[in-house]
């Protein structure tokens, strides 16, 4: 029992719940900025794709959202508008988004658990490829020009399932030329708790204490029973 106490006590008393994706969508919007002509334009029609994986770790007791992780691998071809620099200058007609992912840790729950933010920032990654009149550009991780941005979002539910909405923005070097792509991902998904909540260490201590007390009481009763007939005599 002493060993059990020694193992349990150093841990903080926290109960986190891990939620994994049930279903959700990500709307991707791409804008292109050309430093050459100093113009920002919408690059293609926004597309709504399925989210392939998401993990959320919540700790309502400390009003923390320990982790938000989501990935989409749409492998989607976006037809670039004729007015974009990539189309006009380099004859690239298609921007291919192979993957878009968001990773953020150590966030906070806001408004009694109905919102969230990640003051420490986030990682927003994209894998891009391209195709055009002069050939193709192989799939590669886009070079970010700023730390990823994960805006303040909303969260509903708790217990067995949660629903999250938010927006992530990344600014990347164009794979084609010296222009830049702003990729905005608006996500909405429902996640369910994948397993029973991690037992709160404090609860384990209480349980072991209770067990110890119960066994001591049992021993005491056993002694009294043994003593009983002697007093009766």
């Amino acid at each position: 029992m002493a060993a059990a106490f020694a193992l349990v006590l150093p841990f903080a008393a926290r109960a986190t719940t891990t939620y994994t994706l049930q279903s959700g969508t990500l709307t991707l919007t791409v804008d292109e900025y050309s430093p050459t002509n100093g113009r920002l334009v919408r690059a293609a029609d926004p597309v709504k794709v399925a989210i392939d994986g998401a993990t959320v770790i919540l700790d309502p007791e400390t009003a923390a959202i320990a982790l938000l992780d989501l990935q989409a691998t749409p492998f989607i071809d976006l037809a670039l508008y004729p007015g974009t620099p990539s189309y006009e200058v380099d004859a690239y007609r298609t921007l291919i988004i192979d993957a878009f992912s968001v990773h953020a840790a150590d966030g906070a729950l806001l408004g009694n658990g109905s919102g969230f933010s990640f003051p420490g920032g986030a990682t927003v990654d994209a894998i891009l490829a391209g195709a055009g009149g002069y050939g193709t550009y192989a799939s590669a991780a886009a070079t970010p020009l700023m730390p990823g941005h994960l805006g303040t979002g909303s969260i509903y539910g708790g217990g067995d399932s949660v629903a999250l909405s938010g927006v992530a923005i990344g600014l990347y070097d164009s794979p084609f030329n010296d222009s830049r792509f702003v990729i905005t991902g608006n996500f909405n998904f429902v996640a369910t708790s994948s397993a029973a909540p991690v037992p709160e260490p404090g609860g384990v201590v209480l349980f072991l204490t209770g067990l110890g007390v119960a066994s001591l009481a049992g021993r005491g009763r056993g002694n009294r029973r043994r003593k009983g007939p002697r007093f009766a005599r």
Binding site: G38, H149, G151, T152, Y156, I169
Partner: protein, 249 residues
Amino acid sequence: MPRRSLRRSRPAWASLAAAGACALLLGPVLGARPCRADLFYVQEGGVDDAVGCTTPECTIQTFDLAGPAEVFGTLEIDTSVSPPTLSFDLTLWNTPVSLLEIVAETEDNGVAELEMSDVAYFAADLPATETVPDTFSIDFGATAEVDGDQTQWNDEDFSVNGTPAFFSAPDAQVTGSCLVVAPGDASCSLSFGTGNFQLDVGDPVPAPRSLRQTMNLVLLPEPGEGLLLISGVLGLLAVGRRHIARGDR
């Protein structure tokens, strides 16, 4: 004479110095973003995602957006105050926000389509946080006013539930972020609802449905601002040249 010339040339040099100082002051406008209120105009974009759900959690979605709907208007980011604030005054263009039943011929409470037109989205001085430089996120708890006209159609294309009618959501939850890509150029994403954005939908007994509309916008500076700036600088240069010319005479 040389003395007089020097005296007369002084105002010319002073003018040039003033022009230089002015250019230094205006430099940030053309270069890095200074602390001030930036007014942007919507250049492209609009509502490109919208849903209708039975609850704010949106675990059961009954309506989905039929197609994008463009918006126009202004958005202002004020970095001269702490925290920075974000304001907007946006209106739908001609295309309404049309929400269709998820599966054809499966009305939600007797409604197949929910159409919202002439919708105005307004909020002033919403506190925001600059999480990374030039990226602003509206602080949680912000609300916006969303109002317009709504019509509910059934599968037989009859309007139901006493519509068309005016609707108003004075405290619709709004979240969103803006990235100022370059001075005067910004990409913004705004999401209205589902919190406090509800409509009674259905016939003959309407039931509340939670709505969410998300818009992604490309924003550029006020069209006149650049012209004013250029004409001002040109004016200063002209004045400076005239003063120099007088001094040389």
